[in-house]
């Protein structure tokens, strides 16, 4: 039983991380039907900015005196930088192709992904960028079961961001504009919604979420690396599809399921087949329910 609970906690943490990345995928897809394969690279870039910022703060000695302030600063910097980067990427690589076939944009996204990850390798080097010290060190220890403060932070922050995002999309004017743009770009433009601005905003928010996930990933695993975006990116994409791509809550649930299946697959069956189990679940769900678990909202509730 203790073993099960420990694995459940491990699964929740990993799933929470996937869910945060999947939220960005799903938002961008919801608005312009583009699978942004460069999303995993925003996640890595966010992790790098976090490492640089925290390293700088710790060099100044603020890390010991004001840890929360430093962390907030790192989050703001990383999310801001990635939002800016995403807007740039959108302008350069996706916007000119918006009128072409979807395949062109998809290829452009793949190219952007390779470009960004190699760019990071060339500028930041091939070694791991280390997070200065393990923040939130320690945790609760119940004999067999250990819950670290970091795990609690990841899960609660993911939940908070989901709630915030839901409020943004369903309760605000900007959210309404997003939903309108998702439904019909031309018509929404006719009623004076700046659809280009809305698309940029969606990219910015999605990349910001990915950057937040990148910092948490760095804190949790101790370091970040230029190629770290690829695998979690693919997993998060799978999570978004599993939950029903375009659906925010679906991305969340999909992320948690992929994380859980991986951990339980590794914990009870075999570590080498965990990815296989995760993708079997994905294929199974798509076979029986092609729209994903929560279903793709074709009506006005889609972001």
């Amino acid at each position: 039983m203790e073993y099960f609970i420990q694995q459940l906690i491990n699964g929740l943490t990993l799933g929470g991380m996937y869910a945060l990345i999947a939220l960005g995928y799903t938002m961008v897809y919801g608005v312009i039907q583009l699978i942004n394969f460069a999303h995993g690279e925003f996640f890595a870039a966010g992790g790098y900015v976090g490492a640089i910022a925290l390293g700088y703060f710790s060099g100044l000695g603020y890390m010991e005196t004001h840890p929360i302030l430093c962390l907030t600063g790192a989050f703001v910097l990383a999310m801001g930088y990635c939002a800016y980067l995403a807007i740039g990427v959108e302008k350069v690589a996706y916007k000119p192709l918006r009128k072409n076939s979807r395949l062109a944009a998809l290829l452009s996204a793949l190219g952007m992904s390779i470009f960004l990850s190699n760019g990071m390798m060339l500028t930041r080097g091939v070694y791991d960028a280390v997070y200065p010290s393990e923040l939130f060190q320690g945790g609760f220890d119940f004999g067999m079961i250990t819950i670290s403060y970091l795990q609690i932070t990841i899960v609660s922050l993911t939940a908070a961001l989901l709630i915030g995002l839901n409020i943004l999309v369903f309760k605000t004017k900007v959210g309404m504009a997003m939903r309108a743009t998702a439904q019909d770009k031309t018509m929404s433009a006719l009623v004076a919604i700046g659809s280009n601005r809305i698309i940029s905003l969606t990219f910015a928010i999605g990349a910001g979420l990915a950057a937040a996930a990148g910092i948490m990933y760095g804190l949790y695993y101790g370091s970040v690396k230029y190629d770290m975006g690829f695998v979690p990116g693919i997993k998060a994409f799978a999570a978004a599809v599993l939950g029903g791509i375009g659906n925010i809550t679906g991305a969340m649930i999909g992320g948690l399921i992929i994380g859980m299946v991986e951990i339980f697959g590794a914990g009870y069956l075999s570590g080498e087949y965990k990815d296989v189990f995760a993708f079997i679940i994905l294929i199974g769900v798509l076979y029986f329910k092609p729209t994903g678990i929560m279903g793709e909202n074709i009506d006005d509730t889609r972001v």
Partner: protein
């Protein structure tokens, strides 16, 4: 008609640099193969830097008679067998005199088959799998140690020094890590240690919480971690510490990288690993350190082996006075000098001997801890 003349002229101009190259300068071409991108790019870059240092040392000492300069063609294998074969073919086309590489055993083996067809000398600084030299290729040499020397040394250490009775093994299924883990399991079992489980993770995994929870439950005396590269190893250590695992952690040569402690921090303390012994107090090592550190940073696992491999190759070419592989090989076999990493003397099969001892991480440093003959090092 005019168009055709112009195009022929242009084609001719394109060829000029290729034709001139051979006429005006005689360059000694050396190849290196290591992963410069991908997961093991850091170790691969260390290898390239080691070879570059060796070349710089040689050029400063007057180079090799008959050649204006020595040029390195560093190929990226990405630790991928297919890319390694492609790199080997590229080096053949470049007509290199010898190759230092590759890093992953799974790349070295197929690449050496290709190079062997053209009788090109290959010296690996990092591939420890037995098959590398056991296939009997005439021009295959190895600077580092062998897995079937490392595994018994590790098992002996676990048995004698740590007095372990049970062991939990994890590897990541690469030719290197799984081969080594299997050999360690076999040696340990023959010494009476019980293997509680032998689990696998995937290359590129960052989250090991499931496997570590399993290991914590098994509560073995020793947790043997066989992973390719220091980066996943450091992550595994951090997560093991967070989970509160109590088993003694033992690992292997791929983790011997100063960056390991930088990433794993406190979690690295007390970790033991087996690695070929290099004496950092020799004048050769000190000279290497003075030259390498300001340019490339901390000396890592394979930079010294790569330096010794490249030095051996260049020394032999210089002594032979030609790049003819048979003559260079004859000179290689005659070599007997103190290198940076070890004393260089090749055996008939191309191996240069192993010197595995156990290191322990103390205060963020790898400290020699135990050696197979005399036990604990004081």
């Amino acid at each position: 008609m005019k168009k055709r003349v112009v195009s022929i002229l242009v084609m001719g101009l394109i060829l000029v640099p290729f034709l001139c190259g051979g006429v005006f300068a005689k360059t000694l071409r050396i190849g290196s193969m290591s992963p410069l991108t991908g997961r093991y790019a850091s170790d691969g870059t260390d290898i390239k830097n080691g070879v570059l240092t060796a070349i710089a040392v040689f050029e400063e000492a007057g180079g090799i008679p008959g050649f204006d300069k020595i040029e390195l063609f560093a190929q990226d294998t990405a630790c991928d067998p297919r890319q390694a074969v492609a790199s080997a073919n590229k080096l053949i086309n470049l007509e290199v005199a010898g190759v230092v590489g590759a890093y992953c055993s799974s790349s070295t083996i197929p690449a050496s088959d290709v190079l062997a067809e053209e009788d090109i000398i290959m010296i690996t600084p990092a591939s420890t799998n037995e098959k590398v030299t056991d296939r009997g290729l005439p021009y295959m040499f190895r600077m580092c140690g062998r897995d079937d020397d490392q595994a018994p040394a590790a098992a002996k250490f676990i048995k004698e020094s740590l007095e372990a009775k049970t062991m939990f093994i994890v590897d990541d299924k690469t030719t290197y890590s799984q081969g080594l883990a299997d050999s360690v399991a076999k040696s340990a079992e023959s010494m009476g240690i019980k293997i509680l489980a032998h689990e696998h993770v995937n290359q590129g995994d960052k989250d090991f919480s499931a496997i570590l929870t399993m290991a914590k439950k098994a509560n073995a005396d020793v947790f043997y971690m066989s992973l390719q590269g220091f980066s996943p190893a450091a992550m595994m250590m951090l997560q093991a510490k967070r989970l509160g695992m109590k088993s003694q952690i033992v690992t292997q040569d791929a983790v011997f990288q100063p960056k390991f402690m930088e990433v794993a921090k406190d979690a690295a303390e007390g970790v033991c690993l087996t690695y070929g012994f290099t004496d950092p107090s020799t004048p050769e090592y000190k000279a290497f350190e003075e030259r390498y550190v300001p340019k490339y940073g901390k000396i890592a696992a394979y930079a010294t082996y790569a330096y010794d491999a490249a030095t051996s190759l260049l020394k032999s070419i210089k002594a032979a006075g030609t790049t003819d592989p048979a003559k260079v090989k004859a000179e290689l076999m005659k070599l007997d000098f103190q290198g940076v990493a070890k004393h260089v003397k090749f055996a008939a099969n191309g191996d240069s001997g192993s010197s595995y001892i156990a290191f322990k991480v103390v205060d963020g440093k790898f400290v020699p801890y135990w050696e197979p003959v005399n036990g604990l090092i004081k």
